[in-house]
């Protein structure tokens, strides 16, 4: 229980014994880092200089999520994804491996492909038909004899690090980046039990948001806002009994679902959203004789007992994972709401030039029961915030962000005043600082470089 939260009831959430599932997702509470209580300066969200430093020191050094592996199953299948001012081609090779290249023709700088997915035999620039193979090598330059200097000597598009993990394909703009698995550590061990490759994409949406990308990351990195903007979720999850775990770069929190927040009285009837959880698990809420506060445990037991019959193998997940949200953040910009039956993933991308804008990608996936047909992949949608609903809860998350961003520009607002429930936000900014300014010296508590620090 978070000390100091305004609650009506003391609730002791039953959690799995971390020792009881040694080969699954680690459930142990990590020791909280001591990150102090200083404000997080607002300028980090508004400054063009800070944005430039993020690009130079962070975005171009880390691993970045490119897309879904099963979107590029066959040789020649590619994903073209933009990050900041760069655009990247991720291409399935004839030998089954993946490669990534900057999406730019070496001739006059035209983009080879528009953002999206496709299948090609080669990449041919539509301007003068310079043509590149799936491995990025120059295959043809029309009228090569008219270039006295010859073809570009490297003979190919530069290669970017590219690798697959967790049913996703990742790339880096940093040729010297460490191996992907090392970068993601310890999350592969945490997330592999979900076996995301069994889940099919259900939604693929990009929304243009008028806020800095970090405001969006922050919005999903704490549960404190539930009582503020998602009051309906107080009859769906326990926003107070949260386990927060910060690792080297990445972090997570574990939120009990299918239960009632200690902030509200226990209702006599089953709340609609929990009713839906029970139905999805194959239970009939009308048959349920237990107390509302027992539902979470009983859903877990029911799923454990009946999952296999429904073609759903939960054998690698612990009981809490059958109901709860194991909510992960992969630095710098991936948020994963992981559940036994589904995954809701957000990718936050910076605008190429404007710190007040960003791209918010929503990818959702659902477990396909054994023996059932793989559903058709949804078409990608792209729209501006407010033009369409993205669902009640996410609309509620989104509605504040433009006004938060405006407020960040106010001279009266110095920065984020964070509480204990927002430790992940503090941790995220600490990791970002490590990239931008070098790791903090443990002895002096000062960063090793202070240049340009905000």
């Amino acid at each position: 229980m978070v000390a100091g939260a305004d609650v009506r009831r003391q609730v002791d959430v039953i959690r799995v014994d971390p020792q009881s599932f040694p080969n699954g997702t680690p459930a142990e509470k990590a020791e909280d880092p001591d990150l102090g209580h200083a404000i997080i300066p607002a300028e980090r969200y508004t400054s063009a200089d800070f944005m430039a430093r993020e690009w130079a020191m962070m975005w171009t050094r880390v691993w970045l999520l490119g897309g879904r592996s099963d979107d590029i199953k066959e040789p020649g299948d590619y994903i073209c994804t933009d990050i900041g001012r760069e655009s990247v081609l991720i291409v399935r090779q004839p030998d089954g491996s993946v490669r990534a290249f900057p999406n730019v023709c070496l001739h006059r700088g035209n983009k080879l492909r528009p953002e999206g997915r496709g299948t090609v035999e080669q990449f041919r620039c539509i301007y003068h038909h310079w043509t590149y193979g799936l491995d990025g090598t120059i295959q043809r330059i029309p009228d090569l004899g008219t270039f006295p200097q010859g073809a570009p000597p490297e003979g190919r598009l530069p290669s970017l690090p590219c690798a697959e993990w967790g049913s996703f394909v990742w790339f880096s703009l940093n040729p010297d980046v460490e191996p992907l698995q090392a970068y993601l550590d310890p999350l592969p061990q945490h997330l592999e039990p979900y076996r995301f490759e069994r889940m099919a994409m259900k939604r693929d949406i990009t929304v243009e948001w008028d806020c800095n990308w970090k405001a969006s990351v922050d919005a999903f990195n704490e549960s404190y806002h539930v009582q503020g903007i998602h009051p309906q979720l107080l009859w769906y999850l326990d926003d107070v009994n949260i386990q927060i775990d910060c690792y080297a770069r990445h972090n997570r929190y574990l939120i009990p679902f299918a239960t009632i927040s200690p902030r509200v009285a226990v209702p006599s009837s089953i709340p609609p959203a929990i009713d839906e959880i029970m139905r999805k698990a194959g239970m009939d809420p009308a048959e349920y004789e237990g107390r509302v506060t027992d539902i979470r445990r009983d859903v877990q037991k029911h799923m454990r007992a009946n999952g296999a019959k429904a073609g759903k193998d939960y054998s690698r997940l612990n009981d809490d994972q059958l109901t709860d949200d194991y909510h992960y953040m992969i630095f710098p910009n991936v948020t994963l709401n992981t559940h036994a039956d589904d995954l809701m993933l957000f990718r936050q991308r910076p605008h190429p030039t404007d710190p007040d804008k960003m791209l918010y990608d929503i990818w959702t996936f659902e477990l396909v029961p054994d023996g059932e047909d793989w559903p058709e992949r949804p078409k990608h949608q792209h729209f501006r915030h407010g033009d369409k609903s993205i669902g009640q809860v996410l609309d509620q998350d989104a509605v504040n962000l433009p006004t938060v961003q405006k407020g960040m520009h106010s001279s009266a607002f110095k920065g984020l005043w964070l509480g204990d429930q927002e430790l992940r936000i503090r941790h995220f900014h600490k990791v970002l600082d490590d990239y931008l300014f070098g790791p903090v010296d443990a002895k002096t508590a000062q960063p090793k470089t202070d240049a340009g620090r905000i």
């Binding site: 009506r8 009051p231 309906q232 107080l234 009859w235 509200v264 009285a265 226990v266 209702p267 006599s268 009837s269 709340p271 609609p272 959203a273 009939d284 809420p285 009308a286 048959e287 107390r291």
Partner: protein
Amino acid sequence: MVRLQSVEERHMDLGLAGKRAIIVGAARGIGIATAEILAREGCDLAICARSEDGVKDAVASLKRYGTNVVGAAVNVKKEDAYKAWLAHAQEQLGGCDVLVPISSAGGGIGSEKYWQNAFDVDVMGPVRAVEAVLPGMIERQGGAIVLIATTSAAEAMGGPQPYNALKGSLVIWGKQLALAHGKDGIRVNVVSPGPVEFEGGNWDMIKGTMEKFYQSILRQQPSGRLGTPEEIARAIAFLASPAASWCNGSHLTVDGGFTNRTHF
């Protein structure tokens, strides 16, 4: 010349002091509010509810009025245990003058089981309680029974639910009980509450989970708010009391003017 009224004349006495009341479902909401008023008015009480803790807390609280209060955790759906408790409660009280069966299975759509639940709790709860207390009331030639229906029986609410339909059956049955047992000095009346809000109640949850729907219901209330359990309980207490001696077979809507129809 103004005649000074005596204290006795200024206050209407409900005449509940010394009565023995059974309330089925008295741990929360309208049930506990009714129990509070009856205890304050001097009734001995036997109460039950599903939750052991709920009953324990309610009994402890109700005892502060100084009457005899007993209670037990009972699931109305468990026929044998429920009937045994009804018999035991009458023994503990030495009889029953007032019966208010309130327990409800609540709403629900989409599963046949909701019909069974509503029948077992909302219908057979009152039926079994009435059958348990009637012989004693007939023998003593007196008693008051208040059944609790809902405005959702008279006007659509929340879709075609077993709750609405089976609560409606209590209005019919209550009237016919009244006709049958008037000769025994037993009065049977029905109260239909409109939306009532209290912490932990359905409308408290609806306010949090379905804000727009909740607001639409508020707009439908002439006074712009929902009822409180106490406002329903006062009507129940009145109908249960000797002060309502000429109310028999009546159906009282207590909804702050929520329903649209005219109650001819």
